[in-house]
């Protein structure tokens, strides 16, 4: 990766800034509302899954109730034919419960996965629509993926089972009311406690516990980072033991807290068991008092036990919901105000060649960039002229502002003052998809996708033919490797280019840039990760492969192979400290000459310097 991870700006309203905890009351509902809005096209499937889930639970409940009825009636030794219906019902219910569960799981997962497909596309569109989305750490990215999963879990583990439990509860009370209103009343009270009061309690307890545990867990995670990433510093200064003791102490404090909190958390589950039993007992008492026939008392009692059991599923649903909230809030914040992705899908590849042909002039006039108010500028009144066909190199130490310059060039960063123009039009006035066709190439964050070599290259120019691919790959020094692969152009590149060596990865990214061949070609450290000999060869062939009318802006920390360029600009601390041709700069004292001599020394052997 780039040796100079310079700070990139945070766009307004990045998802990272979304509140993680302590959502406000209004924010609390908007997250779910956003999810439900997304679920609307799949509402029928979801309702179907919910009904099937209710049918599953109801079949289980009815099975227990019918079986009890059957057994208790049988004790009275009636003629067998009076039991036939019940016997058939028990068989049907037993089989259908399993079948219902199977179909419910299939239907539910199918609906939710369809919706997730939609959510992923929308999240991607929302991210893509941000012009200045800066660098994201791997952590933020994987959190984003698990946030999308939160949407899935909300539906599968909270909404579907929750609504099914509610529906079955209502049906159970209605059924009980047919036999005995008094028993139904007792059942309703039990169900309300199990299905409303206890879930509310569980939510409160989970939230409070999380609030207490989270800071300590965060501190412990920091300790772990300090002890591992700072292991050498700690060891060198004899501070390992003290740091270890502090971390162990914190781990023990966390353990004490977790033990204490578990006592309250599981009190809710204990209450659930109690409510189930007491409800059954109350139903028996109420039914007997109301003079309900004995067989039906048994049906009511067993049915009540089963019904409360079903309602208790709401407790775990409530817990899940509480845990999913932060992720849902982040997704909702990201999707807020997003435009439907379909409107944005315009494939404009056909027009690209028109732009490629013409000559373009790019200008920087007194450009200043500041990442934070009051901080030292990353670029300080930099001026550059890049007419068609001109080739400029920008060099300088790490942190000098080279990457910032590239970011300004591609419109990712806007200058605080000064002007950047392309053909006398301000860069910011170009449409988002228009600029990359003219200005672009190999940027610092060049990413290699988990796809074939061909697909990775075609990203540069969709529809490029075999010859064009070969030419670009040859110029980047990748062609031999591709030819040596059994699958050739269709060789699959691993995750984040994992199966390629660092050098091949870089060559692939360079070949893609050369294939794209924008009229203003930006090459940010094109030979990074290559050994000096290969680097010189690749740079030379890449420059040779660029059409004469195209201008080139080469950003590099290596100073060899720059003799052919029209101008070299030396940046330091955001300012242009030297400019001129290679020959001029080597002749004059200054950073460029020092660095050039030193690099020559490092690469050809130190003794080369001694006369």
């Amino acid at each position: 990766m780039s040796a100079a991870p310079e700070p990139l700006p945070a766009g307004p309203g990045r998802s990272g800034a979304a509140p993680v905890t302590g959502a406000t009351a209004s924010g609390r509902t908007t997250a779910e509302r956003t999810v439900l809005r997304l679920a609307r096209p799949y509402l029928r499937r979801l309702v179907g899954a919910g009904l099937l889930a209710a049918a599953t639970e109801f079949a289980g409940l009815a099975l227990m109730a019918t079986a009890t009825w059957l057994l208790m009636s049988a004790a009275g030794r009636p003629p067998l034919d009076r039991l036939t219906v019940a016997i058939v019902a028990v068989r049907a219910l037993a089989i259908s419960r399993g079948v219902f569960r199977y179909t419910e799981r299939l239907a539910g997962h199918d609906a939710v996965l369809r919706m997730i497909t939609d959510v992923r596309a929308r999240v991607f569109a929302a991210l893509a629509a941000r012009r200045t989305a800066g660098h994201r750490s791997g952590d933020v990215l994987s959190r984003l993926v698990s946030d999308v999963e939160a949407v899935q879990d909300l539906l599968l583990r909270v909404l579907v089972p929750g609504s099914a439990a509610a529906l079955v509860g209502v049906l159970a009370v209605a059924g009980a009311a047919l036999i005995s209103p008094a028993a139904a009343g007792a059942l309703a009270v039990g169900l309300l406690i199990a299905g409303v009061a206890l879930p509310a309690l569980a939510t409160a307890v989970t939230r409070r516990n999380a609030a207490e545990v989270a800071p300590l867990r965060g501190a412990l995670a920091t300790d772990a980072i300090d002890l591992t990433h700072g292991a050498a510093d700690l060891a060198a200064f004899g501070a390992t033991d003290a740091a270890l003791r502090a971390a162990e102490q914190r781990a023990r404090r966390l353990a004490r807290l977790e033990r204490r909190l578990a006592a309250t958390g599981f009190a809710v589950d204990a209450a659930g068991v109690l409510v189930a039993g007491l409800t059954a007992a109350a139903v028996v008492l109420a039914a007997l008092a109301a003079g309900v026939p004995g067989v039906l008392v048994g049906v009511l009692a067993v049915g009540a036990l089963a019904a409360v059991e079903v309602a208790l599923a709401l407790v775990s649903a409530a817990r899940q919901w509480t845990q999913l909230r932060p992720g849902l809030t982040r997704v909702a914040a990201l999707l807020d105000g997003d435009t439907p992705p379909a409107a944005a899908v315009v494939d404009a590849d056909g027009t690209a060649d028109v732009d490629r042909a013409g000559g373009h002039e790019l200008r920087f006039v007194d450009v200043t960039v500041r990442y934070r108010a009051g901080a030292a500028p990353a670029l300080d009144r930099v001026s550059l002229a890049l007419p068609a066909g001109r080739r400029i190199a920008v060099v300088g130490p790490s942190g000098a502002g080279k990457s910032t310059l590239a970011a300004v060039l591609t419109g990712a960063v806007r200058p605080a003052s000064g002007r950047v123009t392309l053909d006398d039009r301000d860069l910011s006035s170009y449409a988002e998809e228009e600029l990359p066709r003219t200005v672009g190439g190999l940027l610092a964050e060049a990413y290699v996708f988990h796809a074939t070599v061909r697909e990775n290259l075609l990203l540069g120019r969709a529809g490029a033919g075999e010859e064009e691919l070969s030419a670009a790959a040859a110029a980047a020094g990748l062609l031999e490797w591709v030819r040596a692969q059994p699958a050739g152009w269709d060789t699959l590149v691993g995750e984040e280019g994992g199966q390629l060596s660092g050098g091949q990865r870089q060559r692939l990214a360079l070949a893609r840039a050369l294939l794209a061949a924008p009229p203003v070609l930006v090459l940010d450290e094109p030979t990074e990760g290559l050994d000096p000999t290969a680097a010189d060869a690749v740079l030379a062939s890449a420059l040779a492969a660029t059409p004469a009318g195209h201008s080139v802006l080469l950003i590099t920390h290596r100073l060899s192979g720059l003799a052919e360029l029209d101008e070299i600009v030396v940046l330091d601390g955001g300012r242009v400290i030297q400019r001129g041709s290679h020959a001029e700069l080597v002749a004059a004292p200054g950073w460029y000459r020092d660095q050039w001599l030193l690099q020559a020394a490092a690469e050809r052997g130190y003794l080369a310097l001694a006369p």
């Binding site: 996965l113 991607f124 292991a231 599981f266 039993g277």
Partner: protein, 558 residues
């Protein structure tokens, strides 16, 4: 990997959890007893209720067993959460302790990230395993046994059927593959994580944007996510189908018990209370087995973390010099005698022989990856020679007490780690009792005073993970301040100005010159300015050290 539901290593490694685990097993036995008692009392209540009578003692007994079960559920949850907390704390201490035992050479690189994640949030996945799966696992043993024992007394023929059909659950489970089911579930998670290349696409967004393809790619994301959905549904269908078969096996087994019971009841050969008891108890026998099987996958993540933690902390540490070992004097001569360092795939240093006389300032140059940092690592004791030895003042470093020896060293690394603590504590690393004026001197010597002035809370500003960040130059000056405070006879500097711009470099160079004055110094150098002050220059290439004729600086930059 280890797929056993319970890792016996746990008992050995976390002895303080043994008692709680025993209590958990005992509670599982009690729970099984209470399930039997609840069914027995309920059957009695219902059997008398048929005649419209209320069996008060039975109902009281039923309520009492329910209350006892409720208390038991609480106890089970609390105990299992206690076990989880105890085990996590112990394993965390073990993991982090392993870092101390093995030393920084072992923890470097990718392992640092893995360890930090595992010791941080990774182990929290054990909560699900201990509070969800383990109690269920205990119940899957105790409940079927208790049910069988009770039913034998009530109606032995039903007991025989239960005993014969119970093994069908694990047998069918094995046939259909709980393992396979767990694997598909895991596969599903993994696929979801990839999200049909969703992560890949999001990670590559800057590149897509650079080619003007970001918006056009939305349709591709949708198409791929849809393909992922179809593939996922295929694997899920199989997983759900096997769950269905297991459920039907359990249902049919219950029916096998219930049908003869019903027929005998009709024929008057069985009392209603017994029949009810059998009906209520039989499903309970099959339930915990299925529940444990289906919860297995949910606890996979925890088991994986547990396995990793137990394996990592069990790795044997390199022998360390015992207490009372010799302490070399850093003011003596440092000698490398035919030192070779071989890593797994590369040899970092080959047969290096070298003498550093007290007070010498030695610059080390060479291309990156040539072994310069390894040379410093050897002196710091982070790396041990594969062959050869290093002596300081005649004492072999391998037999010296590393902490006592390191007290003679001040080290300025390429990129110092900023700890999540105040700037003052970051500087006082390893010397927390430094008086304020000594701290102030170090801050001034390291040219850190203007940095301190610019921070919101001065020296008390919090740094690190969630704290205030510092630029490379400022970070380097913090490392220098640490070294000044150390006031050690030997100074090791690893490219102290590597990432700095010219202005910052000048400040750091000045401070570096003040630091090395009057001390033995080895400095890995990149820039000509650093070479100017060196007494000797060593060049490392391909692991071999060559001594260069010291040249006056004028020639170097001419």
């Amino acid at each position: 990997m280890n797929r056993r539901p319970f890792d016996p290593r746990l008992l050995r490694r976390v002895p303080e959890a043994r008692r709680d685990l025993a209590v958990l097993a005992l509670l599982g036995v009690l729970a099984a007893g209470l399930i039997v008692a609840q069914a027995t009392t309920l059957a009695a209540v219902l059997a008398t209720a048929v005649d419209g009578r209320l069996d008060r003692p039975a109902l009281t007994g039923f309520v009492a067993t329910v209350a006892a079960r409720s208390a038991l559920v609480w106890a089970q949850g609390t105990i299992s959460a206690r076990i989880a907390a105890t085990v996590k704390a112990a394993l965390r201490a073990d993991l982090l302790g392993a870092v101390g035992r093995h030393g920084p050479g072992w923890v470097a690189g990718q392992r640092a990230g893995q360890l930090a994640t595992l010791a941080g949030r990774g182990l929290d996945a054990l909560d699900a395993y201990f509070t969800g799966y383990l109690p269920q696992l205990v119940l899957s043993v105790t409940v079927p046994l208790a049910v069988l024992a009770r039913v034998v007394f009530a109606d032995w023929s039903s007991a025989v059927i239960i005993a014969l059909t119970l093994p069908l659950i694990p047998v069918f489970g094995a046939l259909l593959g709980w393992q396979a089911q767990a694997a598909t579930e895991r596969q599903w998670r993994r696929l979801s994580l990839l999200g049909g290349h969703f992560l890949d696409m999001v990670a590559g967004l800057p590149t897509l944007r650079a080619f003007g393809r970001a918006r056009a790619q939305t349709e591709v994301v949708r198409r791929m996510a849809d393909g992922h959905r179809v593939a996922t549904m295929k694997t899920l269908r199989i997983a759900f189908l096997s769950a269905l078969v297991l459920e039907l096996v359990a249902t049919l087994s219950v029916a096998l018990v219930a049908v003869p019971v019903g027929i005998r009841l009709l024929g008057g050969g069985l009392a209603l209370q017994t029949a009810l008891l059998v009906l209520l108890l039989t499903p309970e026998a099959y339930l915990p087995l299925r529940a444990a099987g289906s919860r297995f996958h949910a606890s996979m993540e925890g088991l994986t973390a547990l396995n990793e933690a137990l394996t990592v902390s069990a790795a044997p540490a390199a022998p360390r010099a015992t207490e009372g070992a010799a302490t070399p004097d850093g003011r003596g001569e440092i000698r490398f005698e035919s030192v070779t360092v071989a890593y797994e795939r590369t040899t970092a240093l080959r047969d290096v022989t070298l003498t550093v006389r007290p007070g010498e300032r030695i610059a080390i140059i060479g291309p990156s990856g040539a072994g310069k940092s390894t040379l410093l690592g050897l002196l710091l004791g982070f790396v041990a020679p594969t062959s050869g030895r290093i002596t300081v003042d005649g004492v072999d470093l391998a037999s010296a007490d590393p902490d006592a020896w390191r007290r003679q060293l001040a080290w300025v690394p390429q990129r110092a780690h900023l700890f999540a603590a105040s700037l003052a504590d970051n500087i006082r690393l390893g010397a927390p009792d430094t008086p304020p004026d000594a701290l102030a001197d170090a801050v001034r010597d390291a040219a850190l005073d203007d940095v301190v002035a610019g921070l919101p809370d001065g020296l008390e500003t919090l740094l690190g993970e969630r704290g205030h960040g510092l630029s490379s130059g400022q970070r380097q000056r913090v490392a220098l301040a640490r070294a000044f405070l150390r006031d050690a006879p030997v100074v090791l500097l690893d490219e102290p100005t590597a990432r700095l711009d010219t202005a910052a470099e000048a400040v750091v160079l000045d401070a570096t010159r003040r630091l090395v004055a009057g001390r033995t110094a080895l400095l890995v150098a990149h820039r000509p300015a650093l070479l100017a002050d060196a007494d000797r220059i060593l060049r490392i290439e391909d692991g071999r050290v060559t001594e260069l004729t010291p040249e006056p600086t004028g020639k170097v930059t001419r």
